[in-house]
């Protein structure tokens, strides 16, 4: 290859072009993902104040969190409970996806209707279900009494034991359409030849499901699990609208506690410490889910 004069210039130009193209996106991520992560860590180790320069605080906030803060413990427990609800949602999504995948008339309509809860604003969902759960005039109480499951109205969102499950239910209602779509795509990506080969080998449909479908759906289910974890951190909108933290912190999640600490009490340093713990929990759970899905984001070898 002939060495052209000015090839150095061309490389430099090309390299400048590339970094110019990457710059805006990288700037956004640097400013709003990486910098805040680092800043969180630093903030959590400081005494921060709006009027004075911050001072080093060491592990003061963490000690306060773990030793003296009951609300934190309650929030942590609630967040974990919330996440227990997500496999239920995924199982439901799986069943619906299996049903919708069959060659039946009107499956596209079913798919659209079930998916309709996804683009709805979470705040609006909160308002709707706040109304449905209402103790005196809500539809749910009426329905449950009508079919005889309960004998008097339950104050779903004011009862210490019922508030969090109610919110988990709404969260599942909102996200089951998304799970369905993801699993449906995974289902449609399985080549039918595998099923035919299995039929020839004499496998019945139960075996087909457990030995073929379920393992091949691992990437989709992994994605659903991750979305489920993110959702439990995301349920801020629902809690804010429906219970505001619940009867006596019964529905206080880590994210709502962070919001209250930082933006109503202006204790940014304490909130940063909670955020650090929140994020570590998220990382730990993601790693766990990855391990349970067999590593490598659940990717499957097709051979």
């Amino acid at each position: 290859m002939t060495v052209k004069f000015g090839i150095g210039n061309k490389r430099l130009r090309e390299s400048t072009l590339i970094w110019f193209l990457l710059f805006p996106s990288l700037a956004v991520f640097l400013l709003y993902r990486i910098l805040p992560l680092a800043w969180n860590g630093v903030l959590s180790l400081q005494f921060w104040s709006m009027y004075k320069p911050p001072r080093f605080a060491g592990l003061y906030h963490y000690k306060e969190l773990f030793l003296y803060d009951d609300v934190f413990r309650q929030s942590l427990w609630n967040t974990l409970l919330f996440m227990v609800g997500s496999p239920i949602g995924i199982a439901l999504g799986l069943m619906i996806a299996l049903l919708v995948n069959r060659p039946i008339f009107g499956r596209n309509i079913y798919r659209t209707i079930i998916f309709m809860s996804f683009p709805v604003m979470t705040v609006a969902t909160g308002v709707i279900w706040l109304w449905l759960f209402s103790e005196k005039t809500g539809l749910i109480n009426y329905f449950l009494m009508y079919i005889g499951l309960i004998d008097h109205s339950q104050p779903f969102l004011e009862d210490f034991n019922l508030a969090l499950p109610s919110i988990v239910l709404v969260s599942i209602w909102q996200v089951v359409g998304l799970y369905m779509i993801i699993i449906l795509t995974g289902l449609q990506n399985i080549p039918p030849s595998i099923y035919q080969a299995a039929k020839i080998d004499g496998a019945n449909s139960w075996q087909q499901f457990w030995l073929i479908t379920f393992p091949l759906l691992r990437p989709s289910i992994f994605l659903c699990l991750i979305i489920g974890i993110i959702n439990s951190f995301n349920a801020f909108d629902l809690v804010y609208v429906m219970t505001g933290g619940g009867p006596g912190h019964a529905t206080e999640l880590l994210i709502t506690y962070i919001y209250k600490t930082a933006f109503t009490l202006a204790r940014f340093d304490y909130a940063a410490a909670i955020t650090v713990i929140n994020f570590s929990l998220f990382l730990a759970l993601t790693w766990l889910v990855n391990r349970m899905s067999g590593g490598n984001a659940g990717a499957v070898e097709t051979n």
């Binding site: 805006p24 709003y32 209707i113 109304w131 209602w173 930082a262």
Partner: protein, 270 residues
């Protein structure tokens, strides 16, 4: 397929659809009649519907202002998303020193959920002087990693021969992007538009933190404010809820294909 299994499938799916639709129906019914706000037992069909709650909601809240705010923020986010993501996606199709570091960086940023950044992001936006502004609301959402990779895949699928012949003809780089690559990536653009719209239109926590003025509030915040004022004393709340839902639902119904496509690319990638 056996007959009773077919009927069972339809029954189960119909029940699920019912569960998904009943809340909306109930909302609609209450906004049209307001009959269950105070009376009990609830009636199933609307009795004497009227649209006066909508009139109430219209005159009690500055709906148009909230709508405009939401529209402006979403427009900024969508346009910025397409430009930034396409640029970054294109850059990633080329080989350069440090490419692996950049990709690793982007993948690890995908692991950082939005809530983990909320507190410092507020302080940062305050330093930048962007509190209470449309730009400040739009800034964290202006680029998404999933869409960058989508653009990258879409650009990489353009046949190499096309690009090479254009380069040989001396076409400048930016023209290659605009005239060849972008028109062939229409589905990536459409999906990006749809996803960016959904995230910015429904975003609640970030505007809640950033905004103080009443006339900069977006639709979700307007709804939450109205809820705290009215609680359950008036059907106007539910009318407002429907008014708030309509743009989102209309866009969803018109652009279903792009929605589903956008989510499934995420699924196949994972």
């Amino acid at each position: 397929m056996r007959r009773h299994s077919l009927w069972a499938t339809h029954l189960l799916l119909s029940t699920t659809c019912l569960v998904m639709l009943v809340p909306f129906y109930w909302l609609l019914k209450t906004s049209l009649t307001g009959e269950n706000l105070f009376s009990y037992p609830p009636a199933l069909l609307p009795d004497n519907p009227h649209i006066f709650y909508y009139v109430d909601a219209w005159y009690s809240i500055p709906f148009v202002r909230y709508l405009l705010n939401s529209v402006v923020v979403s427009a900024i986010v969508i346009v910025a998303n397409i430009i930034f993501n396409a640029m970054a996606g294109y850059a990633l199709t080329m080989d350069f020193k440090g490419k692996r570091v950049v990709i690793l960086l982007l993948l690890s940023c995908m692991m950082v959920p939005y809530q983990a950044t909320v507190v410092p992001a507020y302080l940062l936006t305050k330093e930048l002087g962007l509190l209470n502004s449309h730009l400040g609301m739009a800034l964290p959402l202006m680029s998404t990693i999933v869409c960058i990779f989508m653009f990258k895949a879409s650009f990489a699928a353009v046949p190499r021969s096309l690009i090479d012949s254009a380069r040989i003809d001396g076409v400048p780089e930016w023209q290659i992007i605009f005239r060849i690559m972008l028109p062939l990536s229409q589905s990536a653009i459409a999906t990006n538009v749809v996803l960016a719209f959904t995230w910015s239109w429904n975003s609640f926590l970030w505007p809640l933190i950033i905004l103080r003025d009443d006339n900069m509030q977006t639709l979700p915040l307007g709804l939450a404010n109205f809820l705290s004022v009215v609680e359950d004393t008036s059907g106007a709340l539910y009318a407002f809820c429907i008014m708030v839902l309509i743009p989102g639902l209309v866009i969803f119904l018109l652009a279903q294909k792009q929605f589903i496509q956008g989510l499934t690319t995420g699924a196949t990638k994972g």
